[in-house]
Amino acid sequence: MTITDLVAPEAVIPALKVNSKKQALQELAARAAVLTGQNERAIFEVLLQREKLGTTAVGYGVAIPHGKLPKLDKLFGLFARLERPIDFEAMDGQPVDLVFLLLAPEGAGADHLKALARIARLLRDLDVAKKLRASRDAQAIYSVLALPPATAA
């Protein structure tokens, strides 16, 4: 399983324009709703519910909002680079500009957790993050995501 198994090329947003965490989640939910055919409101609720437990910002300007959507048939990923960094209540206080959304079906269990770990590891790699920030269009971003996972821990 690589990251590109989770994200389709059309699920990459190169420059999303949002001003707040809430707006970012709303916007991502709307895009995810179009691509998965699920209810936008339901997706937003699921993401919000997870944020209530604690922020999904993992530090270094990266956030990975996620949640479980019962009616989904497989894992669904969506990547967005934000035009302007926003406050995501991160532990390190850094504003966030790279956002990866992951939705999982009800029974995904271990796959869901492994995918999340994989995404976190990839985006925490400072080189990868740098390349993603430098990429201007969806295709360039997609090719960075398709890179094999970094070898150095």
Partner: protein, 598 residues
């Protein structure tokens, strides 16, 4: 004029004694003696058989001062109790405060019956008088020693000692009535107790709410907020007592309510009551010391020691282990709670009731209680810190936060000014990080007050004051402590995602599909750490939950408040960092290679 002189002399002597008490606290802190004992001894030394030679046997005054002092101490205890921290221990504490007190009294009674040759009602009265754990002693001795207990243990003890006085007072009054008047039915007694407790709770709840309302609505002159709250506490106490409700329960509850709502001048109220509590404590113990007569004490000292030992070594431990059996405490925690059943002024105060009513042998109760308290404070008070460390219920001192100054800003309640000294290795100085909800407002450097713009860049040794919501002030500490020179570990090991300590296991199960035992679903993650770790959690402590590993990422007040979730990885994932054994193997290989000259 002679009577006026007498008043002046009484004031002089009284104030002088209290002042000696205050000064002696220095001595006590240096030698680690339980402070309360020192106050007691000063009273005794000033008393009729000590060098002071003062004659004092005014029971009315003692009862009055004792009531006021106890009310203030309990109120202060409630004020400092965080509702959040007691919610999880409410059931075990209340169990200890009611059933525990009854059991302790029942088990102590036979000893009193046989060694003192009292009848059963009188023996039970002895048991009831010494059965309650003293809130003042627990609060004071634990805090004065700078001891920080594991939150669940500390909270259980504090809530127990705060709530058991009403029950012990009730038990004592009932037994005194039984001895003076005669028979009464069990149902009548239970109904009486329920009425007292319920009415007390209602008075405390309503009173507390009213005080909060008044504090925030009425524009009192600066400096009168704290005295207002203190007198309001006494009004609540008096109102409850005179309507035959439990005043002690009422003030404790009112304290909890006032302490857990946003109010004006919260900090000055806490500081004022701190001082008032100290004073109450000193006055009460000095007075009780004055009242005792060592010659008379000698007569009953043998039986008293027997009773004290039976109480500390048998009655209390049995009661604690029975009461805590249904709850999740390990044996070390139970043993500690059993040992820290400190007896204090409440016992002596309760023992003065028979004297006040004029029971037969009234002095016996007083003397027995006095010796029991003395032994408890000496033996248990002195070994408190030692026991806490041996039984692993003490927290390491290391995770103390930086010194934080909090200033109320009159006119509103949402924001306060929080000040810190800037340390050279703080997150704030090193990375310029600050949470988005706080705003640097002024900087003090070399005794000059600067605006953040003027002070830019801030250097180590400056003082920074920030605007922040009062409830979040504690979260700022993290940015102002010196960071440990950590060799940045693999971030994955610290957990990929962070969740708050109040999140329940059920919440996590809902989102991550991990399996959670049904009876643990309601447990918060912070509780989960408390329950499953044998010792106080440290930063980086791990605990498995199904396929996830929970990592303690941030501690506050001894509890884990941020938890990292280390998620499982699949097999194709990059190699995990080498274990110590693998590193050793590689090193050996390298050495072998160099030796073999390959």
């Amino acid at each position: 004029m002679a009577s006026l002189d007498a008043v002046s002399i009484a004031i002089l002597l009284g104030a002088f004694l209290v002042m000696v008490g205050i000064l002696s606290s220095l001595l006590a802190l240096r030698f680690g003696a339980p402070l309360l004992l020192v106050f007691l001894f000063i009273g005794m030394a000033a008393g009729e058989s000590g060098p002071g030679g003062l004659r004092f046997d005014d029971l009315q005054t003692t009862y009055l001062v004792g009531s006021v002092a106890l009310a203030l101490i309990l109120f202060d205890g409630g004020l400092k109790t965080r509702l959040q921290s007691i919610q999880t221990v409410l059931a075990p504490s209340v169990m200890l405060a009611t059933v525990g007190v009854l059991l302790t009294a029942l088990i102590t009674a036979p000893v009193a019956h046989y060694v003192l040759e009292l009848n059963w009602a009188e023996a039970l009265l002895i048991g009831a008088v010494v059965a309650s754990t003293d809130a003042a002693a627990v609060f004071l001795l634990v805090h004065a020693q700078g001891l920080r207990l594991r939150p669940r243990v500390g909270a259980t003890l504090e809530v127990e000692s705060g709530t058991n006085d009403p029950f012990a007072v009730f038990l004592t009054l009932m037994l005194v009535e039984l001895i003076t008047v005669g028979e009464s039915s069990a149902w009548h007694v239970i109904a009486l107790f329920l009425r007292d407790a319920l009415l007390g709770a209602v008075v405390g709840f309503v009173g507390g709410r009213l005080v909060v309302l008044a504090l925030n609505r009425v524009a009192l002159p600066q400096g009168l907020h704290a005295p207002f709250v203190a007198t309001a506490a006494l009004v609540i106490f008096g109102a409850a007592q005179s309507s035959h409700a439990s005043g002690f329960l009422a003030v404790y509850l009112a304290g909890i309510i006032i302490g857990n709502r946003p109010t004006r001048a919260h900090n000055s109220v806490v500081t004022f009551l701190d001082a008032a509590t100290w004073l109450a404590q000193i006055v009460m113990f000095v007075l009780l010391g004055l009242l005792v007569s060592p010659q008379r004490l000698l007569v009953s000292i043998g039986p008293a020691i027997l009773i004290a030992l039976a109480l500390m070594l048998v009655a209390r431990p049995v009661a604690v282990f029975l009461c805590l059996a249904p709850f999740r405490f390990n044996w070390r925690e139970k043993l500690f709670v059993a040992w820290v059943g400190l007896r204090g002024a409440v016992a002596i105060f309760l023992a003065s009731i028979p004297m006040l009513v004029g029971l037969n042998n009234a002095y016996l109760y007083f003397d027995i209680a006095f010796v029991v308290v003395l032994i408890s404070l000496l033996l248990q008070g002195w070994t408190l810190g030692f026991a806490a460390r041996k039984l692993h219920v003490a927290l390491p001192r290391a995770d103390r936060g930086p010194r934080r100054v909090e200033l109320d800003l009159p006119g509103q309640l949402e924001q306060q000014l929080v000040g810190y000294a800037v340390r050279p290795k703080s997150l704030y100085l090193k990375r310029g990080l600050i949470p988005s909800w706080s705003k640097p407002t002024l900087v003090i450097r070399d005794q000059r007050i600067l605006s953040p713009a003027e002070a830019d860049p801030v250097t180590a040794g400056d003082y920074v004051y920030l605007l922040a919501p009062p409830e979040k002030a504690e979260a700022l500490d993290r940015f102002f402590v010196d960071m440990a020179p950590s060799s940045a570990p693999d971030p994955h090991l610290l957990g990929d995602f962070m969740v708050a300590g109040e999140v329940t296991l059920g919440d996590l199960a809902g989102i991550y599909g991990v399996n959670v035992a049904p009876d643990e679903a309601e447990l918060t993650l912070a509780d989960y750490f408390d329950v499953h770790l044998d010792r106080a959690p440290k930063l980086g402590a791990t605990l498995p939950l199904d396929s996830i590993v929970l990592v303690a990422r941030s501690l506050g007040g001894g509890r884990v408040n941020v938890i990292g979730l280390r998620l499982p990885e699949d097999e194709e994932a990059p190699r995990p960092p080498p274990t110590r054994r693998q590193t050793l193997k590689r090193k050996l290989k390298a050495i072998w290679a160099s030796v073999a000259g390959i």
